[in-house]
């Protein structure tokens, strides 16, 4: 077996509330899996179940081919990093790192060796004698990662580790976590609500909603071929534009616009089925300027609002009565009220059934 963590038919109920329902997940050795979802979707709960901090109501958890469903957190071979760092305030950094090892009754020499190794990897050697209160947020999170590192385990669990840091530090530490993963080749399960973190770090992303996994796949797959409207809407910033219309004879009709679907790859190989549908297209996949000429579908719109962000300029407009956003280059000079010709190609769009919201 090559799976590091396996979750089988996992159920979790708090009283009558079902938090996780019949959840199955297999995570390969050395894989970086990100659990992504909005707050309350059960992603942190799932992580706590894997860690053994919550008793499950049903199902099994296997770590390294061992059934650990009833095992104590410390016996599961996991290390965990928390959002609020959770460093023991009365202990020095060294004390924090060695606490778990002392509990495991490791010999002193081995403890010293491991602390040395971890502090080298994370570059926290000068901080070893300090208390957590004397550390900055980034340093604290490094120590928290170190605490998982010294345990010398195969599976790392991260519970929104970067959410308490400011934007710049978050970016830096994100890179560092990725580097750490390359170096250690451990299995990592990472919970976040930040899609940028998810996209940049993950080998695979599991998008969760209401205690169920909506889609499990590589960042590319999730971004390019979302399985349903929720995932499509959740991933990407600014979010996807949706046009509600109908499909008839391989053409998507919205208002008086006809969008040919010849290039579109249907999930079902038999092709287009007539009926109500939603067409989703990302703002960054809408072309403007000279590129419009090559696009299979073109339309003129009036600019309602402009949001310059420096690198890009977001343009709000209306297409067949639907609010529509276009991402343009930051250098483009446009102003409110102007006419703009935009083009889109169905090969980059996503079609969803109106009722089931599943990908067509």
């Amino acid at each position: 077996m090559n799976n590091s963590v396996e979750i089988k038919n996992l159920d979790l109920r708090f009283g009558a509330v079902k938090v996780l329902q019949n959840l199955n997940l297999e995570i390969g050795k050395g894989e970086f899996l990100v659990l992504l979802g909005s707050s309350g979707c059960g992603k942190s709960t799932l992580l706590n179940c894997i860690a053994g901090l919550l008793d499950v109501s049903g199902g099994q958890i296997h770590i390294n081919d061992r059934n650990v469903t009833w095992a104590e957190p410390s016996d599961r071979g996991i290390g965990m990093v928390f959002q609020s760092y959770a460093l023991y305030p009365q202990m020095t950094v060294e004390g924090n790192l060695s606490f778990g090892l002392k509990n495991a009754k490791l010999p002193k020499l081995e403890i010293a060796k491991r602390i040395k190794h971890a502090s080298e990897v994370l570059q926290i050697e000068p901080l070893l004698k300090r208390k957590p209160a004397a550390l900055s947020g980034g340093q604290r999170q490094r120590v928290a990662i170190g605490r998982a590192l010294v345990r010398d385990v195969d599976v790392f669990l991260f519970d929104e580790p970067l959410s308490n840091l400011d934007a710049k530090l978050r970016g830096d530490l994100r890179v560092e976590i990725k580097r750490l993963h390359h170096k250690l080749q451990n299995t990592m399960i990472y919970v976040t609500h930040d899609q940028i973190e998810a996209m940049t770090l993950a080998d695979r992303i599991a998008i969760m909603r209401d205690g169920q996994i909506m889609q499990l796949g590589s960042p590319d797959e999730i971004y390019g071929r979302p399985v349903n409207k929720y995932v499509a809407d959740f991933i990407g910033s600014p979010s996807m534009n949706f046009l509600e219309g109908t499909i008839k004879d391989g053409v998507f009709i919205v208002g008086d616009l006809l969008i040919p679907l010849t290039d579109y790859e249907f999930a079902d190989s038999t092709g287009a089925v007539d009926g109500s549908a939603i067409l989703g297209i990302r703002p960054e996949h809408v072309v403007t300027g000279e590129l419009v000429a090559n696009a299979p579908f073109q339309v003129d719109v009036e600019i309602i609002l402009i949001e310059p962000t420096g690198s890009d300029t977001l343009v709000d407009c209306e297409v067949a009565g639907h609010h529509f956003r276009v991402r343009m280059d930051g250098q483009s000079r446009v102003s409110v009220g102007e006419k703009l010709r935009i083009g889109l190609s169905p090969s980059k769009a996503s079609l969803f059934d109106l009722k089931s919201e599943l990908r067509l």
Binding site: P73, S74, A86, Y88, P89, F99, G100, A104, R151
Partner: protein, 301 residues
């Protein structure tokens, strides 16, 4: 840098001026000073009287400072004043109170803190029901329980001994202390507890190595509550102990209320102050510790 022009400003600028002797201030501070005098005066009278000799007291000038300072009443109150038949002063009662207070405070806090820790972090089946019952116990009037406890102590052979009183104090401290500790431990970040579990610490490991070191403020509050409560207790002391074991409050009552001979006001005052010194000291000493404890308990930055 961007150049800023500096020009003379007109109209209100800088800090707003405040009048020290405004009508509002005079009224506010006048009232406060009056109330302060009202509360401080009895203490002043007690101290002054305890330092006077009896002849001076008979002159009747209650508020005047002593013409001739004497510590005789203090010595007498401590070692010679008569409580009923014996004339050992307050010293016997003092040592009894020490022997009652220290184990009671220690035991009640030790048990209640573990209770609170278990209730806050190790939710077991029926934890909430258990807690509700415990809190409900705090609302039952003491008088209802006095006699049943006498019988229970008699049956286990502790009636009349210091041990029996320690047991009673420990039990009666449980509801409020458990509530105190439970709420404090619930307010500590839950992730610390989780991290300690991942690090392999057990029930006692987490309690002693993680929770207790972070809880100096609440332990201080509990000590203040218990020491003053138990030291000042009169009812349980007089009911559950025998005359040899009477705590200091009972001795004080016996000194002040003994009816033979002249009422020695100076001795009574000195005895009362001595009895009150312990809770007072606790307030002053631990009050400072309390503030330091809060400052040191900062977890996040």
């Amino acid at each position: 840098m961007i150049d800023t022009t500096s020009s003379a400003l007109t109209g209100p600028q800088g800090p707003k001026p405040r009048k020290v002797f405004s009508r509002r201030n005079i009224f506010l501070y006048g009232t406060l000073i009056l109330i302060m005098i009202y509360y401080a005066l009895p203490l002043y009278v007690m101290i002054v009287t305890s330092l006077k000799g009896m002849p001076e007291i008979r002159l009747g000038n209650v508020f005047s400072p002593p013409l001739e300072v004497t510590f005789e009443p203090w010595v007498k109150a401590w070692s010679q004043a008569c409580t009923g038949l014996t004339c050992n002063g307050l010293s016997t009662g003092f040592w009894n109170s020490v022997q009652i207070t220290i184990p009671s405070v220690f035991l009640s806090i030790a048990i209640a803190s573990v209770n609170g820790y278990a209730l806050a972090n190790w939710k077991f089946k029926g934890a909430d029901a258990f807690f509700t019952i415990l809190i409900f116990g705090a609302f039952i009037p003491y008088q209802v329980m006095l006699y049943p406890i006498v019988i229970m102590l008699r049956e286990i052979g502790l009636y009349g001994s210091l041990g029996g009183l320690v047991l009673v104090h420990t039990i009666f401290g449980m509801p409020i202390l458990t509530l105190l500790f439970r709420n404090y431990f619930s307010s500590l970040p839950e992730e610390l507890f989780k991290a300690a579990r991942v690090d392999g610490a057990g029930f006692w490991g987490i309690y002693f190595r993680i929770m207790v070191p972070m809880s100096l403020p609440i332990f201080t509050v509990a000590v203040i509550l218990q020491v003053t409560g138990i030291w000042n207790d009169f009812l349980f002391g007089v009911i559950y102990t025998s005359p040899d074991n009477y705590p200091m409050t009972v001795s004080l009552n016996n000194i002040v209320n003994s009816t033979q001979g002249v009422k020695e006001y100076n001795v009574n005052m000195a005895a009362t102050i001595i009895t009150g010194l312990v809770p007072l000291t606790i307030y002053f000493v631990s009050g400072r510790l309390f503030v330091r404890g809060i400052a040191a308990g900062a977890v996040k930055g």
